[in-house]
């Protein structure tokens, strides 16, 4: 498989052959309001994107950034407000209209057909055709090669998109927009699926696009990235513009604008005091239904009182590893032991009873029953036991009392614990999951993506609870694709790539080292590469 982001980006890209200067475009959003029923996602938003600028839209998950961009791209019609292009008002009935004036968008979830080739994806909706609508993909292939040469992309027009690494798929999305002569390119959370090195490469591409005259709207909630690449920053909170800032503004200032109060960005955490090693994974191999090894011969251990973070780009086996521990996977070989008890081959119920607390990565699909009340969700794992049930009936009073206590303890913001859990915000839903999982005496706490899609205020709270569990002497295993989170929480960090363990490093390791490991280098190779960056790495393709 292709290794992404190993060679330094600077010396790999050939000089652009024939730069095509893009005519710039000024974009203004005036008083854009978009509401879905009672929910106001965007509230009178004003935004000016100057030609040839990288304009960042900073805001927490759920602040309304994506909705705003979907309005700009014609996917949603604004409830009120106007879009101006070069001074004149325009109305977009659909994405085709937006593309016609030169707006392109790279969506957070790629809009590519996996069973189509790169050329077919780029052509779709913008096809070159001969007589009778017969496809002329050669014209598209030429255009792809042209753009690839200009920006130093390595993209084969005839490759199947579903077989390409995520980073390359993102380039296909960029090519798709550029092939339509996009003058403004919207990038919606483009770094969420990238390694740190791939993120750096993307930023180089963004600067190159800017030099070429393309304006970029960069949507992100990651302060570091926004500061690194922007010309101007607009901060959005709860659907409203709360201000604009220069990239030179201090991080803490940007953070407090984004969150609406001052936040401490660093977690206060004492040094770990590891006790005896009680949780061990040995030669674990998990095979999926298609027969592929999604977790490949992984061995590691976690001690009492320490947090082991598992880092890696999404889709490298973390999900399967966590599910294997809980007993949700069918084809598992190797051994997982907790306090000397073998967990492989046990049912989920037995694993839970052995003292495993589990926060699944997708709280809505796997962590909660949306239509059930908060109180019911808080006893999903304990409903069978006293005091919550007697013989065959549930004790409603005990369940309600438990809910009242947990809601107070975990600061779940709700009017009533009898409300369906689906009515809560993401952060509060996650608090419910954690409250439930931490309510039993645990021998292992395993949390996948513990703060995905959670507001900064709740993240702080959840992180503190996880550290408190560690300090109580529980071994903690955190799986997260957010490198910042892994660095923040972990006492040691294990990196997974293509299902294999690249190594385990101390919690204070550098972002560069971890990035190289996330791209498929073992810890030794990564360290050697950092010491001698020019040396090429020769290895058999995986």
């Amino acid at each position: 498989m292709r290794r992404a982001g190993i060679a330094g980006p600077a010396h790999r890209r050939p000089p652009a052959p024939t730069p095509r200067w893009v005519e710039s475009l000024k974009l203004e959003l005036k008083g854009i309001t978009k509401s879905f029923g009672a929910l106001v996602a965007n509230d009178h938003i004003d935004l000016v994107v100057e030609p040839g600028q990288i304009h960042s839209l900073l805001g927490e998950n759920g602040a309304g950034k994506s909705t705003l961009m979907n309005v700009l791209y014609g996917l949603h019609q604004p409830t009120s407000g106007e879009i101006h292009v070069d001074g004149s008002a325009v109305a977009f009935a659909g994405p085709a209209d937006a593309m016609a004036v030169g707006i392109g968008m790279v969506h957070q979830h790629f809009m590519l057909v996996p069973v189509f080739t790169v050329a077919e994806n780029v052509a779709l909706g913008n096809e070159s055709t001969g007589r009778g609508g017969i496809l002329d993909l050669d014209a598209t292939r030429r255009r792809i090669r042209e753009i690839s040469a200009q920006f130093g992309f390595d993209v084969d027009p005839d490759a199947l998109v579903g077989e390409l690494p995520v980073g390359v798929q993102q380039r296909v999305e960029i090519i798709k927009a550029l092939a339509r002569e996009a003058k403004v390119l919207i990038l919606d959370e483009p770094t969420a699926v990238l390694t740190p090195q791939e993120t750096d490469e993307l930023m180089d591409i963004m600067r190159q696009l800017k030099a070429n005259g393309t304006s970029i709207v960069f949507i992100s909630h990651k302060l570091r990235e926004v500061k690194a690449v922007s010309d101007k920053i607009t901060v959005i909170r709860r659907g409203k513009v709360v201000g604009t800032a220069d990239p030179s503004a201090p991080t803490t200032e940007l953070a407090s604008m984004m969150v609406g109060r001052s936040v401490s960005l660093t977690l206060e955490k004492s040094a770990a005091e590891p006790g005896e090693t009680t949780f061990a994974v040995t030669n674990l191999t998990v095979t999926n239904d298609a027969g592929q090894r999604v977790v490949d011969d992984v061995t590691f251990a976690v001690s009492r009182g320490e947090i082991l973070g598992i880092a890696g780009v999404q889709g490298n086996g973390q999900t399967e590893l966590a599910e294997a521990v809980l007993g949700l996977r069918r084809h598992v070989r190797g051994s997982i032991t907790l306090g000397g008890t073998e967990l492989v081959g046990r049912s989920v119920r037995e694993v839970l009873d052995a003292g495993v607390g589990y926060v699944p990565e997708d709280r809505q699909d796997d962590g909660l029953v949306g239509g059930f009340s908060i109180a019911e969700n808080l006893v999903l794992d304990l409903y069978k036991q006293r005091p919550f049930s007697r013989r065959a009936t549930l004790d409603r009073a005990a369940i309600a009392a438990n809910a009242a206590a947990k809601v107070a303890e975990f600061d779940v913001r709700t009017l009533s614990a009898a409300d369906p859990v689906a009515t809560l915000s993401g952060g509060n839903q996650q608090k419910v999951v954690l409250a439930r999982e931490l309510s039993r005496p645990l021998k292992l706490f395993l949390a996948s993506q513990p703060t995905r899609g959670v507001d900064v205020g709740s993240i702080e709270f959840l992180h503190k609870r996880i550290v408190a569990e560690r300090d109580a002497g529980t071994p903690v295993l955190i799986v997260s694709t957010e490198l910042d989170e892994v660095l923040e929480l972990s006492d040691r960090i294990a990196v997974l790539f293509a299902g294999k363990l690249m190594g385990v490093v101390p919690g204070k390791s550098s972002r560069e080292l971890l990035g190289l490991m996330m791209a498929g280098l073992t810890v030794d190779e990564a360290r050697a590469h950092l010491d001698h960056p020019d040396a090429t790495i020769e290895r058999e393709p995986a």
Partner: protein
């Protein structure tokens, strides 16, 4: 619960080693299936093979070119087939070991070789040891033709992401309307157009409920089948059975004549099968080629396939997803309606209640067996047609095998195909999922 799946829908694709397109789950089982069939060939065709000879009559008595009968020593031929099947199974196993995949030609050769072996074995076991190939194939067209139209209708709908369970109803509506209109107007072409319109009408209901009102597509389809069956049955009793001067004048449709093509129609077997057909038969050949070309070589097809695979992606490049789907469902209805006309304007000269007899569902099987590809579906329809006709041919030749058992075989094969034992059959990713802008 989605916990055990690797990649819940809607998430960006992961690294290919983990969640990419990878080898099909079923393909690893292919060598096993081939080996089992080879064992069947060894035991049944070779060891237990019938003595004597199997005779296949190729020419009819009045053909211009007389081709001598094909006479095969049943047992020796069975041994040869068993040897070839075993060799191919071994080859497939070694390819799987070496490359992780099997060359396409191996399975594509295996299937016809096995079928020929089966045919010789069956014919050798009959009392007369003698069948006519012309009869086998031309008779098969009576079943194959409506199946092809039905499965083409399915291709058009499902490639755009709408499951069409209502094919049976569309065929039946076409058959009834064609009979009624062709009887009243005494014009078979009027019947043909009316049949297409009837198919479109059924499709319009499917489109309105499943696309506009987002009702479960399967349920709408099933209900439509029952509706059409009841409606045509009612009208059949009330209108078609009324006789005027002793004649049921509303159920005597004018027929579409056979139009033999000079020279081509004289080719042994192929000629009578394909080139002595009515206009509907030729339309079928044209449609198979046209829809295949359209789907895979034109802008029209690229957009339809995108809508069926990833509607949101299509939407973000300015393609109107639901309009595309409505058009395809209506076009599919017209195609199935014409297929229905074949029953009353060509095959039989009058309508009878529920005369489509479930062929619409078998068309769905052909669609799946043919991997949502017009040519594949047409070949599957031919296989089903031949198998369906084989039992009547064999009962004439005096076979010890139960006809119903033979009739069942192709569908057993379909189940294997759908469950991934014989290669992979993958539906368009968004098939059956309504698209609602969010």
């Amino acid at each position: 619960m989605s916990t055990v799946t690797t990649q819940p829908a809607g998430r960006p694709a992961g690294q290919p080693a983990v969640a990419g397109v990878g080898p099909a789950p079923g393909s690893r089982r292919t060598p096993i299936v081939l080996a089992v069939l080879a064992a069947v060939a060894i035991v049944v065709f070779a060891v237990l093979g019938p003595g004597g000879q199997a005779t296949f009559r190729i020419s009819q008595d009045n053909d211009a070119w007389q081709v001598p009968n094909l006479v095969l020593p049943a047992k020796a031929f069975g041994v040869a087939i068993a040897v070839v099947c075993t060799a191919l199974a071994v080859l497939a196993y070694r390819q799987m070991r070496a490359n992780g995949r099997i060359a396409k030609w191996v399975t594509l050769t295996y299937a016809p070789v096995f079928v020929v072996g089966l045919l010789v074995w069956i014919v050798g076991g009959t009392t007369t040891q003698n069948i006519t190939l012309v009869g086998l194939f031309t008779g098969a067209m009576l079943i194959t033709t409506p199946l092809v139209f039905g499965s083409l209708s399915g291709v058009l709908c499902e490639r755009s992401g709408v499951v069409n369970i209502a094919i049976e109803g569309q065929l039946l509506a076409g058959a009834f309307t064609a009979a009624l209109v062709a009887s009243i107007t005494h014009n078979a072409f009027a019947g043909l157009f009316a049949a297409a319109a009837a198919g479109v009408a059924v499709s319009a209901l499917l489109a309105v409920f499943s696309i506009k009102y987002v009702v479960n597509q399967i349920i709408v389809g099933v209900v439509l089948n029952v509706l059409v069956s009841g409606l045509t049955g009612f009208l059949f009793e009330k209108i078609m059975k009324t006789s005027v001067n002793g004649a049921t004048i509303y159920n005597q449709p004018a027929q579409l004549p056979a139009l033999p093509i000079p020279l081509l129609s004289e080719i042994p077997v192929i000629g009578p099968m394909l080139f002595r057909q009515s206009i509907i038969g030729y339309l079928m050949l044209v449609l198979v080629a046209a829809i295949w070309f359209g789907l895979f070589r034109t802008r029209w097809g690229l957009r339809i396939r995108a809508v069926g695979e990833h509607p949101k992606a299509a939407d973000t490049v300015g393609i109107n997803v639901n309009r595309t789907r409505v058009r395809n469902v209506l076009a599919g209805g017209a195609v199935a309606g014409i297929g229905g006309a074949y029953f009353t304007l060509v095959a039989v000269s009058s309508f009878s209640k529920d005369m489509t007899g479930g062929l619409g569902f078998i068309a769905l099987a052909a669609l799946i067996f043919g991997r949502w590809n017009p040519i594949g579906a047409a070949l599957a329809a031919l296989l089903f047609g031949v198998a369906g006709n084989l039992q009547s041919i064999l009962s004439l030749a005096g076979t010890p095998i139960d006809g119903q058992f033979l009739a069942m075989l192709p569908y057993a094969l379909t189940i294997l195909a759908v469950s991934g034992f014989v290669g992979r059959s993958r539906a368009p990713a968004a098939d059956g999922q309504p698209y609602v802008k969010g």
